[in-house]
Amino acid sequence: MINPVIQREFYGILRSQRAMAVLLCLTVVFSIAVLMRWPSDASVDLSGKQSLEVFRVFGYGLLAGVVFLVPAFPATSVVNEKNGGTLALLLNSPLSAFSIYFGKVSGVLLFSLLVLLSSLPASAACFAMGGIDLKSELGLLYLILSLLVIQYTTLGMLVSSYAQSADAGVRITYTAVLAMFFLTLVPAAFFPGTGGLMSTATGWLRNVSPVPAVMEIMGHSGVGSAGLKIASTTREFIVVTLLSSLVFAGITLSRFNYRIFDRSRAKGVITNDRGTLAQAARRVMYVVDPQRRKPGIPWYMNPVMVKEFRCRRFGRSQWLLRLISVCTVASMVVTFAAATSATSWGVETVGGLMVVLQVVLVVVLTPSLASGLISGERDGSGWELLRLTPLSSLKIVRGKILSVAWTLGLVLMATLPGYLIMILIQPAMWLQVNFVLICLVWTAIEALAVSAAVGSLFRTTAVSTTATYIAVIMLFLTPILVWLGRDAPFGHDTVQTALLATPVGAALNVIGAPGFESYDLLPQAWWVAGVVSVVMFTVLGIQVWRLTRAV
């Protein structure tokens, strides 16, 4: 008999509008991508170059699809079941913990299989063009993506088993996925092919990301190889993915018992009630002690903004200070390394790296902070309570937007010391750095506007967080994917147009990052960001007006 959990999970996912939209969008996008690159002339390409170009677009697109879409489903799978009380019922049934876990994982994997299947017509078209090897290219791509799906599914389930809300599950899963996808590449970039333990470790860490393996299949040199030819990374990727999936699954499975419910909630020992020594120690540890009794909200501050800061675990001041400290130290270390010739990079490369790191931080942080501004209140009945207060809808939205804007502002300012060192090294870069900072500010505004607007369209926080992450990541990653395909299959003009979608390309262009020098993106990129932000804030305004009026 089929495991009832598989049946329920799989049908449950298929019944959701979210799943239908995902499958439909993917099929359409893949088909359009292939059709756009389909040869229209009568000449025969014997070298297979044209089909490889199409295959590259298709492959990277499919990779992006898996990264954006797959984590959303396992991220909420366990936590929803736990909070809804049905996990307790399942654990109380004769089903073993393994059957329940296996059932849940299988449900998500079956759906992910459908996602991959929806790309088959497009991949068949690629293959039909010729020049693509079925086993070593197409087959290997699907193998890597399938393993990636397993890894992300087990990771999402692990996070979900620890998360206290579906929203937190989605946020943490996407952050972990992005870290595994992108941040694991960074250390290898510092120690390329130098030999030694560090180099070996960073080389393996690099293989956590699917990017090098996929790039290898696509015939590009691997990211982080810094131009050096690196031996095949596919086998390492397969080993790392399988091992990590097993570890994730093992830990999750070990929690499928009383432990998953066994969590005492600290009712809150207040620092003011502790001894003098403890108070002093906490003052040094935290700088801004989260457990200290807060003074009332002053008249000049927007109460909604203060409330947003206070009710967000991550938004609390001590977390912000930690984050800013990390950013400050990281930016200074990177710049210092360049200044003392510890690396062979020029200031441009360092600047480019800092811009990319900052953009990643903005892309990860903003949806997490802004997606639930409205949906979080609607989900928890807070919206009705806010409507009952004399606060105007404008003041409510302003408070909410400001709470995110301040956080992003502080994060952006945290890297200022790095840029200052850069200016000290090359005083001529003063103007460039100014332009870069303006680009980063626009990046933050655009990300905030898109996150807040997209998030406000949904009623439940988990859905709004997922949709917002997908929207923001697509907005910021698509131009980079197009840029990766510069010269072939995309021409200079196409890449330039794509890079205008966000000010990130402009920032990299201004700082002179390798590969971005030849584009002319300013001031158009600022205008585009401005228009997108205005449109998105308008959408947010309309949605808030719709939700606050009495009907």
């Binding site: 909200i297 203060v306 206070r310 009710c311 409507r387 004399p390």
Partner: protein, 345 residues
């Protein structure tokens, strides 16, 4: 009903969603310091009425006023006059009770110094002072209800509207809640309380409004409503032995049939409960008319331990009113249908 100053007043309040009438010409008034028990089954229109009163919803027609302020056009004024506690707590994560109340106090524009004082006051009124530093999301249901009432009191509103305040509370918490509500009424607050736990409401309400299918079925003091619904009263005759039960039952049945008011076609409602050595009967007769039955039974040589009327409680009254209202609706729609059929013919 008391003649106290009117604080809440609705006139022909109607709310329609397309073809569905959620609220149908609701007219009622509540005086200062009164506690109105708003009773009705799920989907009766209670929440719709409340949402209109607090300015969250717009009526299709009719009017609603609180302390002279129009609920539809003076929503800012209404927000200061009313404290509304929805069924759902609406907690925020990682916030302590004092921070939670501080936020709502700030939202109502209370100055910081006054706010600190007010937080202490409302926590004292609701018996929640010890929760001052606890996290709101870690509170039990009963504790959350107290904090929710404290929140509604922060801006010192004239009218409190509480949706199911006793829902999910344990017996002790329910008693505490009752005491708290009575204390608030003593402070001069006007309360509108909805609840499914009708005995709870019966103990605290001066005024009761019964609503089903969007229509107000009964409105007035508890005594008025009881008097209205008690068209048939239930009496119990307690006997000394089991063998008396059938005999007395038959005697009662015959006696009731002989009474002029009893419809001849219907068999009188007489129940013989041997296990309880008791005969129970319902009648529309009043005290004066029923009294001779006792004499008749004694004259028959029956030993009677007790002859008493069974008190009708709010639940009975509600069921009686709701059923009568529903039957009227059915009759009206059938009549309309017949008229329409006739017109068609």
């Amino acid at each position: 009903m008391s003649d106290s100053e009117t604080v809440v007043e609705t006139k022909a309040l109607t709310k329609r969603y397309d073809n569905f009438t959620a609220l149908d010409s609701l007219t009622m008034r509540v005086g200062k310091g009164e506690i109105l028990g708003f009773i009705g089954p799920n989907g009766a229109g209670k929440t719709t009425t409340i949402r209109i009163l607090v300015g969250l919803s717009k009526p299709t027609s009719g009017s609603a006023h609180i302390a002279g302020a129009d609920c539809l056009h003076e929503s800012r004024k209404i927000k200061r006059l009313v404290g509304y506690m929805p069924d759902d707590f609406g907690s925020y994560n990682n916030m302590r009770v004092c921070e939670y109340l501080d936020f709502f106090g700030a939202a109502y524009g209370i100055a910081r110094r006054q706010r600190v004082k007010r937080i202490s006051e409302v926590l004292d009124i609701t018996g929640a002072t010890y929760m001052h530093d606890l996290f709101v999301d870690a509170l039990s249901r009963g504790m959350q209800q107290r904090v929710a009432i404290a929140r509604t009191l922060m801006h010192d509103p004239q009218v409190l509207i509480l949706d199911e305040p006793a829902n999910g509370l344990d017996p002790q918490a329910r008693i505490d809640m009752r005491v708290m509500l009575l204390r608030l009424a003593e402070m001069g607050k006007t309360l509108i309380v909805t609840s499914h736990i009708l005995p709870e409401l019966a103990r605290i309400c001066n005024v009761v409004a019964m609503i089903t299918k969007g229509k107000l079925r009964a409105f007035g003091t508890l005594e008025d409503i009881m008097r209205d619904v008690q068209q048939r009263r239930t009496f119990e005759v307690m006997l000394i032995s089991e063998e008396q039960v059938d005999r007395v039952g038959e005697t009662v049945r015959c006696w009731l049939r002989e009474q002029n008011g009893e419809p001849k076609v219907d068999a009188p409602e007489v129940t013989c409960a041997k296990a309880e050595t008791m005969v129970r009967f319902s009648t529309h007769l009043n005290d004066r008319e029923v009294a001779p039955l006792l004499t008749h039974l004694v004259n028959q040589g029956e030993t009677i331990v007790q002859f008493r009327e069974v008190a009708t409680d709010l639940e009975d009254a509600f069921l009686s009113v709701a059923n009568a209202g529903d039957q009227t609706d059915v009759a009206t729609s059938a009549g309309t249908g017949m008229q329409m059929s006739g017109a068609d013919a």
